[in-house]
Amino acid sequence: MSVRRLEPQEITTATDTRDILANARRDTERYGLDDYFIVDVDSHHVELDSWPEILAYLDSPVLRDTAAQMMRNWPQASHLALHNHPPGLTMQDVSGRIPHQASLGEPTPDVGSGAERDVTLVRRAMEAMSIDVQVVFPQPMLETGLHPQPEVATALLQAYNRWFTAEVLPREPRIRTMLGLPFENPDACLATIEEFADVPGVIGFLVTSQRHAGVHRNAYMPVYRELERRGLPIGFHAGPNQADTMTSTMNRFLSAHAMSFVTCNMTHMTNWVVNGIPERFPGLRTIWIESGLAWLPFMMQRLDHEYSMRQSDAPLLTRPPSHYIREMYYTSQPMEWTDDKLLAATLEAIDAENTLMYSSDWPHWDFDVPGKIAALPFVSEHGKRNILGETARKVFSLGG
């Protein structure tokens, strides 16, 4: 018998992504995942690693100068200038227990830029998890809706979108993205759609969900109409917030993360459905991202219950809210699989075999491997293929 000392003995922030994810190969072999078309609808790169490159894309000479001065003069600002990075996010790695959350600090020889490095890291993760297409999003910019200066948030999103489409997407056709909309400014949203909708690799647009804007405001109707006209989906990507009136009572990251990643999308979904946005734009495909699934049966029951007694509060609806919820799309991660019966009922409630899309959320601390979908005992083979990639193929018109 051969015995080989495994390297590394301990996985750290310096470990190669392929070594961190080596055990995912077990699922690939066990479930034959190489035979599936796998689309990962939610993953991340670390845009702050490339922040100086991104800030160079700022349109305004004044803001570019502000950023340059911050990076030059403030000791810790070289990769944070103009950003509203919440300090609580550094609790995510559970005090070093989940190193890949804190940093993918592995060697990437022969890369010349942050974008090249990002592409290298994404390729390694795709290879390790047998993923065919990966939708890549930023990370701390998911907090951009809470930026104290909305016009700076708008400018940062524009710079980031220009950098990502110019530097990342052209390097790897298997990388796709839904670009963030500067949601505080509906005109800028329309300009963003106009500028990027036809760029190869852009497969939709995103609302970062941590914000205080009502998604039903009349000012947004031209945005939804334009996305519907172009056949492009809109996604709502959840994020954490440890400083709102609810989470500021919470003393543990676990508590704030568990609740705030869901309540932001609960808020938007409530406004979205009660105000009849699906009735107004029946062709607009809507995706709820990174809130897990356990919230959905609650939403369906709660909204249906109240709607049945207060139909006059939601006159645009012709059916109970759960009917609309069942017709929207969801990414799977973090799939709360702690009770078989509850998960099976949840999947049935949302018609998961036709609405659910696999997402890894790699490299975050609560990521899911594709094998988690393949292992579901109460989903048909056809349903697993849909969840792992075929539904995404339809929603995003990926062809092939």
Partner: protein
Amino acid sequence: MTTTTPAARDVDVAAAGDVPERGRLVVEIDGTTTVGIFRFAGRLYAWENVCAHQGGPACQGRIVSRVRERLDDGKRSLGMRFDEDTMHVVCPWHGYEYDVTTGRHPGVPGASLRSFPVAEVEGRIRVTV
């Protein structure tokens, strides 16, 4: 139908000194089975390097003592402390944490690592796989 199970075999994996107190050694045997060997309070323990959660490399994670929360007589929290009488290894994929002496997650019944018999014989560590 009859099935055959390969007979268990004792495998010499390392010298005793390769696994110090509160240390570990992770080895791959025959290219198929990966085992983490840990030493705590002088005893050796061996666990498969596959997390009960999503199959992550549990034995290659951070080694750390269990965290406990102290309460005073009035049940007021006095904050957290490390329990130095424990040794945990944490799966680096998602943070599932295991007591190396039991292979069990301290708070999730049923979440445990697969064990292998391990022995120290004449200065060598032998694992039965």
